[in-house]
């Protein structure tokens, strides 16, 4: 089945979605208490807590070399039983219900007919609930925004099998290392995101490539929802949330220079999804004092800490601002809460750096390129150019500022609005003066997103503030909703929903052929010989990979048999990927590093070509598995796979 075909994606997505729904909706619903309030609040809370749970559990299981599907299931079942004993979760009566069902069935109270009827009626009522919630234009609009946001991010992943951007191969390999119970394989780096991906992979049972390709766009969608959630909750207006979500979801390419990262799969973008909900729950806890809100905020910031350090800095700065606001304005009432927040923050820092300690304990060094990047400096004073979008954001900040003055006069100051203003202003000042002051490469290149990510929130909040002039709530809501709808329509019209398609480091054809072979052979049954970038990461766990340069160096084409160098086992199925035209994406920046790698690959490819010619001469030809203008896949079948398993 071709990668870009509908049935292929329907199958893969069904697996991915069912895994996602089970792990982040159904299971959390079973173990965490259902709180009063909107279903969406519960969804967000449960999602954040569940991600933390899986990451912590993943770390523990990988470190103890026990990370696998059975262990995860055991962990989940044990947790459920423990919580049931404590009276937590929502299915204390699950077994009781099953009992009742069985007994009713035995007495004829339930027949197949009544069962079908019950199921249909439950389905009908579920459908009815969904449809009636969509009757609310705001919900419908939000759904459209989400779908469009997802579409522009996921389109590339649906059409191109090759993972996006250069980091994807690393993410893919690390996800697979986690699956194989290896931590910090290439050095110490937060593994939270890779554990999240590996857990999704375990339960979705699809090729890790699909999990990788889908998860980036899904992170983008989650961030869109996070921004909507924060904005709509602090303004208590769905329309302003929709405005913020539209700006981030559809207009992001206008805001961020790194917008292509939204369609690639990177830990930083995943961590972004948690920032806004974490802010919201910190504010909510300090305002209302409910412990569950503190725990949610703590879970959010800890997830971020375990996933990406830069995102932790963004979130940590926000948390500090929130604490300061409450410290200054409401110390008497909430000093205990502030202490709890500070304590949870310290705990988060401890947990976030615990993997670092663990890694050092295992004798691992820091991930070389990341630490190098982290410490690299710029030599000139750099001030980022002020863009139109920045000016618009200043205007939004101005609106917020005026509103705050007005509110303080009327003594109706809302702390969440103070936070929006302060965080917005602080993040802009930081990204503007930060590079020149620190000379840090990371701050120059990456911290721009701290500000960029807040621009949609500023847009949503200022939009709301402007319409507060309309006193009548009903009229205001209608106007706001209408205008947010218009903004959405204009955004669609303006962007034409042009998909974000990042550059690739592998050719789609090579990846497509890898998937084709993977579909025909079991793992361990075949060897892949390739010289393209990410060949090892792609085949790791599903096939044995031999780098083309090693293959040429170690195997004599004149030999009749190709055997494993260490075990001397005959390799049953060998697929040689020979690039006639070595692939390079024009969009890939031709840095010295990339250029050097490309030249080396050209040499390796030429060597492999020679080896193939010699093999053909010695053995009277070589089977061609696939061929086009750029790539040939040769197939050497040497024996029966069963030989491999005899002594097991």
């Amino acid at each position: 089945m071709p990668y870009a075909s509908i049935p292929n994606h329907l199958n893969a997505m069904a697996h991915y979605l069912s895994s996602f729904i089970f792990l982040f909706i159904i299971f959390p619903r079973l173990i965490f208490r259902y709180r009063e309030g909107r279903a969406f609040d519960n969804l967000v809370r449960n999602f954040i807590k569940a991600v933390l749970l899986y990451i912590v559990c993943g770390y523990l299981l990988v470190v103890t070399k026990l990370y696998e599907f059975i262990a995860l299931v055991l962990f989940m079942v044990t947790l459920k039983i423990l919580l049931m004993k404590k009276g937590g979760g929502n299915t204390v009566g699950l077994f009781h219900k099953i009992n009742c069902f069985m007994l009713d069935f035995a007495d004829g109270g339930i027949t197949l007919k009544t069962l079908v009827k019950r199921f249909l009626s439950a389905f009908k009522s579920w459908l009815h609930n969904i449809l009636s919630s969509l009757r609310d234009p705001a919900n419908l609009l939000l759904l459209l925004v989400c779908l469009c946001s997802l579409y522009i991010r996921i389109y590339g992943a649906l059409i191109h099998p090759a993972p996006s951007m250069s980091d994807s191969s690393v993410v893919l390999a690390w996800m697979k290392y986690i699956e194989n119970r290896m931590i910090f394989h290439d050095g110490i780096y937060p593994q939270g995101f890779h554990i999240y991906l590996a857990t999704l992979r375990k339960f979705s049972a699809i090729n890790p490539l699909y999990v990788l390709n889908y998860s980036g766009p899904v992170s983008g969608l989650l961030t869109t929802l996070g921004i909507y959630y924060f904005t709509s909750r602090i303004t208590e207006s769905k329309a302003s949330g929709i405005v913020a979500a539209t700006v981030f979801g559809l207009l992001w390419p206008l805001i961020s220079d790194n917008y292509v990262r939204q369609a690639a799969t990177n830990s930083q973008e995943f961590a972004f999804a948690f920032i806004m909900p974490t802010f919201y729950y910190y504010i909510k806890y300090l305002s209302e004092g409910k412990r569950d809100d503190l725990f949610t905020a703590f879970a959010g910031i800890t997830v971020i800490g375990l996933v990406h350090s830069i995102a932790l800095a963004f979130c940590g700065a926000g948390a500090v601002i929130i604490v300061l606001i409450f410290f200054v304005t409401d110390l008497k009432r909430c000093w205990k809460r502030l202490l709890n927040v500070v304590f949870s923050g310290l705990l988060c820092i401890f947990l976030s750096f615990l993997p670092l300690g663990l890694g050092l304990l295992f004798g691992k060094g820091l991930h070389a390129s990341s630490s190098e990047y982290l410490l690299s400096k710029i030599y000139d004073n750099f001030y980022p150019p002020i863009r139109i979008v920045d000016i618009a954001a200043f205007a939004a900040l101005g609106v917020a500022f005026l509103f705050l003055i007005g509110a303080s006069i009327r003594k109706k100051l809302k702390k969440s609005y103070i936070f929006v203003f302060l965080y917005g202003a602080a993040s802009f000042l930081f990204i503007y003066y930060g590079p020149a002051l620190t000379k840090s490469q990371v701050i120059t290149n990456r911290f721009g997103d701290m500000w960029n990510l807040f621009i949609p929130v500023l847009a949503g909040v200022s939009f709301h503030i402007l319409f507060l002039l309309i006193r009548k709530t009903g009229v205001r809501s209608c106007v706001q909703l209408g205008l947010s709808g218009i903004l959405f329509a204009l955004s669609v019209y303006y962007t034409k929903l042009t998909p974000i398609v990042p550059y690739k480091v592998q050719s789609d054809t090579a990846v497509e052929q890898y998937l084709r072979i993977d579909g025909s052979f079991r793992p361990t049954e075949w060897h892949l010989v390739s010289g393209f970038v990410g060949g090892y990461a792609l085949s790791y766990g599903t096939a044995y990979h031999i780098e083309s340069s090693d293959f040429v160096a170690n195997y004599d084409p004149a030999n009749a048999e190709i055997r494993d160098l260490s075990s001397n086992v005959l390799l049953p199925n060998i697929f040689i990927f020979y690039e006639k035209n070595v692939f390079i994406d024009e969009a890939d920046s031709m840095t010295d590093l990339v250029r050097g790698q490309y030249e080396a690959r050209l040499r390796d490819s030429a060597d492999l070509g020679e080896w193939i010619e010699k093999y053909k001469e010695a053995h009277g030809g070589l089977d061609v598995y696939y061929e086009d203008a750029d790539l040939v896949v040769y197939y050497i079948k040497q024996g029966d796979t069963k030989n491999l398993f005899k002594n097991q």
Binding site: S18, L66, I70, L74, N99, A205, K642, Q648
Partner: protein, 534 residues
């Protein structure tokens, strides 16, 4: 609670009414009988404490008994029971029970003999590819787990009815459970197929083999249970022999593939088994006394009361196979599927399980003897004071347990010696070379020790079931299963796949300790439990 408070509370009308109420029903033999009566009328520790200020129901019972002024007649149940039969009669009975105990092993013995001589059996073959062996292993394990609960409830309820002479209702109940069993097995099969479709683990041909074996083995296990229920143990042994001969003929003479031969034989054996069962039922019905039957209990009530036994059956078979599941799902260098059969491991356990034969025979003798003593004791008249009963029952139980354990150790030594002797002398060209490797011997060693502990546990469990105390058994089995699972999982992942047998050892040790502790509690209050069970 102080004596003053009790004395004060005794003066209340309520206390006097209660004394009169008990006296009106029957003069109790001891405080435990009073407790049992009170429990049956809705009293519990809380109610006793709040109404009369006693610590618990037992204290209240003792106070009530004192107030009634009942004097005990001291008769030792065990002494009295022993007087009933002569030495020869006792030995005859013991031999009969012993044979009945080991009879379950006949089919197993025939299968082993067939494997050693003609290298095939009804569902195994020496030269199977690992893929096929994996498929069959999955089908077999799944079939045991699916049917385990039903075998227990069929036996539990069926024996109860048949022992009382209600043959027709026993038949109806059994058929109802078989019907439920078939539905349940079909659902499990669908679930298995669904899971496999989702996780894309087994290729289609392996899935088909798994499902076929699963289906036929389910049918066979259920019918075997019914044959045991009808005390036609040898019928299945005969059918199995017939099945093996059929496989032999189809494979060696008709030159069919082993899978086809076995599937044909399994289907024929399954069909014949059901026909034979129908015949036995008809025969039993015609022999049973007319007008002796009662109505079948309301199904929901019946299922509710049998639920612990069903759970026990499921857990027990899951427990037995957990170590295999852990071992075979452990990642190897070449691991194309999530589950991968390892013959060396299976062989070690196959030899180890042989040690169960002797102790199970002994277990049957001891449990029958104990239950008979209890039964007689109940009929003998007044029960002795608790202290005296305890002084007899606990040592008797300890002696029984020691006997079981010793017979297990003796059996292990015998089997081990037999293996070494066969290997040394190679009678009829029989060789056990396959046994002598590190993995198999490791599994055999720890498997044997585990099965010794299992014998002890099973003895305890059978006694507790006889006293209708399944709840503690189920709880203990849950814990032991968890221990088996966790220890097996960790060991197989940290050391090597075959270390999962340590999980079995941990599970069986824990189960034997827990069930023995429970048994000691029961034996300390045996008269109470006898009364409650009655």
């Amino acid at each position: 609670m102080s004596a003053d408070v009790i004395a004060f509370n005794q003066n209340t009308d309520k206390f006097r009414d209660l004394v009169e109420e008990i006296r009106a029903v029957r003069t109790p033999e001891d405080a435990f009988e009073v407790s049992a009566y009170l429990e049956s009328t809705g009293w519990d520790d809380d109610k006793a404490s709040t109404t009369f200020g006693t610590k618990d129901l037992f204290e209240l019972s003792e106070q009530l008994l004192k107030s009634m002024g009942v004097r005990h007649v001291s008769v030792s149940p065990f002494v009295e029971a022993d007087r009933e039969s002569g030495v020869l009669g006792k030995w005859k009975k013991a031999l009969r029970n012993f044979l009945r105990g080991i009879i379950f092993a006949f089919p197993m013995a025939i299968s082993v003999a067939a494997m050693l001589t003609v290298r095939l059996s009804l569902w195994s073959y020496d030269e199977l590819s690992v893929e096929v062996a994996t498929s069959i292993a999955i089908g077999t394990i799944l079939s045991f787990m699916a049917v385990g609960g039903f075998t227990q409830i069929i036996a539990r309820r069926g024996y109860a009815y048949i022992d009382q002479g209600y043959f027709r209702v026993a038949k109806r109940t059994t058929l109802y459970f078989l019907y439920l069993g078939v539905i349940f097995c079909a659902l499990i099969c669908l679930l298995f197929i669904g899971i496999n479709l989702y996780f894309s683990q087994l290729p289609f041909n392996m899935l088909v083999v798994s499902v076929l074996y699963y289906f036929f083995l389910c049918v066979i296990w259920m019918s075997v249970t019914v044959m045991y229920l009808l005390r036609k143990e040898f019928a299945f042994t005969a059918l199995l022999t017939f099945g093996i001969l059929l496989v032999y003929a189809l494979f060696y003479y008709a030159r069919l593939s082993i899978i086809v031969s076995q599937v044909i034989s399994l289907s024929i054996v399954s069909a014949v088994t059901w026909i034979v069962l129908a015949f036995f039922f008809r025969l039993g019905e015609s022999k049973s006394e007319k007008g002796m039957d009662v109505f079948m209990q309301r199904k929901s009530v019946m299922l509710y009361t049998l639920k612990p036994y069903f759970i026990y059956g499921f857990l027990y078979f899951t427990f037995l196979f957990t170590d295999r599941i852990m071992a075979w799902s452990s990642n190897g260098v070449y691991m194309p599927y999530i589950f991968w059969f390892r013959g060396q491991y299976e062989l070690g356990l196959d030899f180890a399980i042989l040690i169960l034969i002797l102790p199970m025979g002994v277990c049957e003798v001891l449990v029958s003897d104990l239950m008979e003593k209890i039964d007689r004791a109940m009929k003998c008249g007044w029960l002795e004071q608790t202290k005296l009963t305890k002084s007899k029952s606990v040592p008797y139980y300890a002696k029984s347990l020691a006997l079981i354990f010793l017979s297990s150790v003796f059996s292990t030594a015998g089997i081990t010696a037999a293996i070494y002797m066969i290997q040394r002398s190679k009678p009829f060209g029989l060789s056990l070379d396959m046994f002598f490797n590190q993995t198999t011997m490791f599994v055999y060693l720890f498997g044997s020790i585990s099965y010794c502990f299992l014998c002890v546990s099973l003895t305890n469990i059978v006694i507790q079931f006889s006293l209708s105390k399944p709840d503690r058994v189920v709880k203990n089995l849950w814990l032991s299963l968890l221990a088996n699972f966790i220890v097996g999982f960790v060991c197989s992942r940290w050391f090597s796949y075959y270390w999962s047998v340590i999980g079995l050892l941990a599970g069986t040790v824990l189960l034997s300790v827990l069930t023995t502790m429970d048994m000691l509690k029961i034996m300390n209050k045996v008269d109470y439990y006898i009364y409650a069970a009655a």
